[in-house]
Amino acid sequence: MPVSASSWSFTEDDFGAITKALERFLADCNARCALLVDRTGQLVATVGQRPDFDPTAFATLTAADFSANDQLAKLVGENDFSSLFHQGEKESMYLADVARRVILVVLFDSRTTLGLVRIKMRQTVVELTQLFEIVFARGGSAEAVPNILAGADDEIDKLFQ
């Protein structure tokens, strides 16, 4: 089925490596919190200070924000806008594309500067791109990641009785 062919899964090891990279990034640039969101709007990971907003809603809007800006980029003749910056009075966010499939969002306040966030973000994006490329290369292939729903037809039926 084409749907599952484009699916991807990450293991606990992947998750550990991603989290570690993000923790280092936050410490380096003194930002509050980093979120990884996939382009379809699913939240992949949250690191740092726990956000006090609904992270699922945040992830959805981030993906929409990025997609809309992607289209805007095309309209003005750019391939994409690989990063976006939203400035607030106290809180600001910086968003960057990772491997064309994931978005890294960082929330920061006046304890740091946009310049520092931007520099550190660039390095982190390179690191994350390498990590994610391994995850995507593995894809949803059955050998690497066992299909937890295989043969679960009865259980699925029961869930919807």
Binding site: S9, F10, T40, Q42, T56, A64, A152, D153, F160
Partner: protein, 225 residues
């Protein structure tokens, strides 16, 4: 594109409600939001205009239960019904796992329904998705209205069936929801066709809303199994 998170033990799937403007897509989500336990759903996000027309999308995450220790989390989206917003409609379809087409039963909306269905096929094709091979259900909404077309007319217009090419699927398949009807059947011409499952609904009163959600999410999970 479903996402399985082994760390939080979650399976995340994306379902998109598609259809003509003012057909009841947002109403479907609002009903689900109002009826499910608050601890099994997230916030209902609406990016709408001042006149409550969907501008970008509505979004509602709901948990439908646990399978093999994994929480099944469905992200429900609606798209703007107005053709004017096609660019944002298309964006929402990215990574979709299941589609609900919310058709407006009113005779006067037949053309708008057809236009939206064609637009759905076109937008899906642009992403390389094939609607005929993925979880897809049709909801005929507003069945309570006096000017509602008959199911037979709606089916003929919006769900006439697509050709079955796989020989293993060329066998009659009864429609479990409608006795005497078939999802896969052979036409007198010898051609085998398959139709999407359909449901009847009155979304404002909630009739058929959960049945639709159940039908599509079950198909999505089965497509992963």
């Amino acid at each position: 594109m479903s996402m399985i998170n082994y760390a939080s033990r979650e399976i995340n799937c994306k379902i998109v409600y598609y259809g003509p403007g003012l057909g009841g897509k947002t109403t479907n989500l609002e009903h689900v939001y109002g009826k499910v336990q608050p601890d099994t759903r997230g916030k209902l996000i609406s990016l709408a205009t001042e006149t409550e027309r969907t501008l970008f999308f509505d979004f509602l995450p709901v948990d439908l239960g646990t399978i093999r220790g994994f929480k099944t989390r469905f992200h429900l989206y609606t798209v703007p019904g107005q053709v004017y917003y096609n660019a944002s409609r298309k964006l929402i379809l990215k990574g979709v796992d299941g589609i609900v087409f919310v058709g407006d039963s009113q005779v006067e909306r037949m053309e708008a329904n057809q236009e939206a269905m064609q637009n759905l096929y076109d937008n899906m094709a642009e992403y390389g998705y094939d609607l005929t091979t993925m979880p897809f259900v049709i909801q005929y909404n507003k069945r309570d209205l006096p000017n509602a077309a008959s199911i037979r007319e709606l089916q003929a217009s919006l769900n006439p069936g697509w050709e079955v090419t796989e020989s293993t699927r060329m066998r009659p398949l009864a429609d479990p929801a409608h006795p005497g009807e078939r999802l896969i059947e052979q036409l007198p011409t010898g051609e085998w066709i398959e139709r999407a499952p359909y449901l009847e609904a009155v979304a404002v009163s909630g009739e058929g809303v959960f049945e639709t959600l159940r039908a599509v999410s079950k198909l999505v999970l089965k497509s992963l199994a």
